[in-house]
């Protein structure tokens, strides 16, 4: 496994007024690795993701990109670096077709005239590379199922050739078969050498695709687990705080060097 993390958070803290949302949080993502970020409601998952995506700025700590400290002030900064975020609400335009959504905000064009043919060709290539099955790239998003919308949203994140993809609860609203499709897609992203941060409440999903699992509890790291050497119970007790906080943190620090 490639040892160099593409994205690393070192001691990131964030405070909203009286609420200390994040305290000294560490997170590393390597190319070709799926890191599941789990935690209870209010554990700080969304805040952490927004910090990486440039929506919020950390009060303290460093974000390292390919080993260099970087500052991410705006969502565009994150996109320029190569971080693509798929939010839970997908942010797709129902009235536009699949091609229009995939390229929204970065259309291929000659001067200002859209290169529809070029975009359609590229969309087909992208969707077939990801083995995404959609009846047509020219039908409006409104006519797609929830799972297909999710896959389009993920495919859209890939149009800008990112190196890290953040998926915020991609399977939360999906059925069994559609969840399987999205998880397949997550594995395909990993196989393409992308770093994936997967936020999920569903332990089955996490155990199915994640390589490492980072647990957040009350805004702090509460353990890193290797999927191969852990089980659901261990993670759930870390999420709920049933395990001894300090011990798991020391174990996690100790094992980090070997990963």
């Amino acid at each position: 496994m490639a040892a160099e993390p593409v994205l690393a958070l070192r001691g990131v803290s964030k405070r909203f007024g009286a609420v200390q949302a994040l305290t000294d949080v560490e997170l590393e993502v390597r190319p070709g690795e799926v890191v599941a970020l789990v935690g209870d409601n209010g554990a700080g998952k969304s805040t952490l993701v927004k910090t990486i995506a440039g929506v919020n700025q950390p009060d303290d700590g460093v974000i390292e990109w390919e080993g260099r400290p970087v500052s991410i002030h705006r969502p565009q900064d994150a996109q320029t670096l190569g971080v693509a975020t798929v939010y839970q609400d997908l942010a797709l335009c129902d009235n536009l077709d699949v091609v229009g959504n995939l390229f929204l905000g970065r259309e291929m064009r000659h001067f200002t005239i859209l290169d529809e043919v070029g975009m359609e060709k590229r969309s087909r290539e992208l969707l077939s590379t990801l083995s995404i099955r959609i009846p047509s790239v020219r039908i409006p998003i409104a006519s797609l199922s929830g799972g297909q919308r999710q896959t389009v949203a993920i495919a859209r994140a890939l149009v800008g050739d990112p190196k890290v993809v953040i998926l915020d609860e991609p399977t939360a609203a999906l059925g069994v078969e559609q969840t399987a499709q999205v998880l397949d897609l997550v594995e395909r992203l990993r196989d393409r050498g992308l770093g994936v941060i997967l936020i999920s409440h569903n332990m089955a999903d996490v155990m199915a695709v994640a390589d490492r699992i980072a647990v957040l509890r009350l805004g702090r790291n509460n353990g890193f687990f290797d999927r191969r050497y852990t089980n659901k119970e261990e993670i759930i007790s870390a999420i709920t705080g049933a395990t001894d906080n300090a011990v798991t943190r020391r174990q996690a620090r100790g094992s980090e060097g070997q990963l």
């Binding site: 229009g100 069994v176 594995e187 393409r192």
Partner: protein
Amino acid sequence: MSSDNNPQPGDGEYHRPPLPEDSMPKGGVNAPVPVAAAATPVVDPRLIVREGGVKGYLGEFKRRLSSGELGSLPVVLALIIIWAVFGSLNSTFLSAQNLSNLSQQIVGTGMIAIGVVFVLLLGEIDLSVGSVSGLCAAIFAVMNVTHGVNQWVALISAIAGGAIVGLIQGLFFAKVGVPAFVVTLAGNLAWNGLMLQILGSSGTVNLSGKDIVSRLYTTIYSQTIAAYLLAAVGVLLFLGANLFDARRRRAAGVPYRPPADIALRTIVLAVIAFVVAYTLNQYKGLPLALLIFLIFIVVLDFVLRRTSYGRQIFALGGNIEGARRAGINVSWIRISVFMICSTMAAVGGLFLAAQIQSASQTSGGGNLLMNCIAAAVIGGTSLFGGRGSTWSALLGALVIGSIQSGMNIMGVSNAIQFMITGAVLLAAVVVDSLSRRTQKAAGRA
């Protein structure tokens, strides 16, 4: 590693280890819809039906109707019914003279309706277009007639005045966050007041009849060739654009329209274009106003459908938050769309002034505002944003104009006319709402 970081098309093949979900049931309520599962991913379903010939077209047509994608069908039907009814009641309605006059009379309302289409695409509304059209007509008339300013300067000032009005209203809407209908409702009153101020005590400024605006409206190319030439150019442009597009698509390996399809569409367009040209030639010929109207429609339709700016307008009408996250400058799009709307109101106002040869205190008043919004909605542009075309301004203005013209010929009183126009507008909005609901039910909205 580097090749892994740069995804190439074609390196998607992989073999994953068996996962728990592999053993999951593939059926049940969460099974993929048959369409998605059965369709070959690389073939466009619209093309599959086209390959079925006439039967394929009929099937596609039925599917669209049942799923609520009515497009411009209701308005075309309405137009046919209106023309049939008035034509049977009074033979002068379908005379070349009346239809030619109609083609000129709809231009003012239609131009304003084009601007309304832009605002409706955002899912917003502009209630000030009537007043703005009167204001800009007054600016032109007072500058040109009362102060003797060069007619071109007066024309440009009037249109620039419209753009500035749009800028002000757009700033209040996009930057301050005041709801659009409040801003423009206030504007409706304020711009009307400004118009009265500009017109001064006399209240009415008559145009000379020789100025540029009057000539734009009254000029009719009486040569028989003019109307036919326009029809031929339009048909050839349509055919050329379609063939060019099909060739590029074929070269790129994406689905394209089969030649038979293009031929059929071209023939339908040619029949309509040449019948219109023939009718116009039966009277005086091709009115310049109609030509300008068509040019505005075609150019702005191109802007909406084929440029990134137009794509951003549609995106904003579909999902504002999505558009913002995609990096679209929401404020700028909103302000510019309100500027386009007010500018088109100015253009329409000038044509309306030329029609009555004056700018007066009643300019832009009465039911003009309602007619313009009605024209856009009747033509098929959705009130809910994200759906529409500049062509709906032409179709809607034709419907409204036909009803008014027909009832004038019949000698129906204003009271009845207002009631009927109101009913038609309501019917159009009902069709819009119902089709939207059906589309939602059919999963296409």
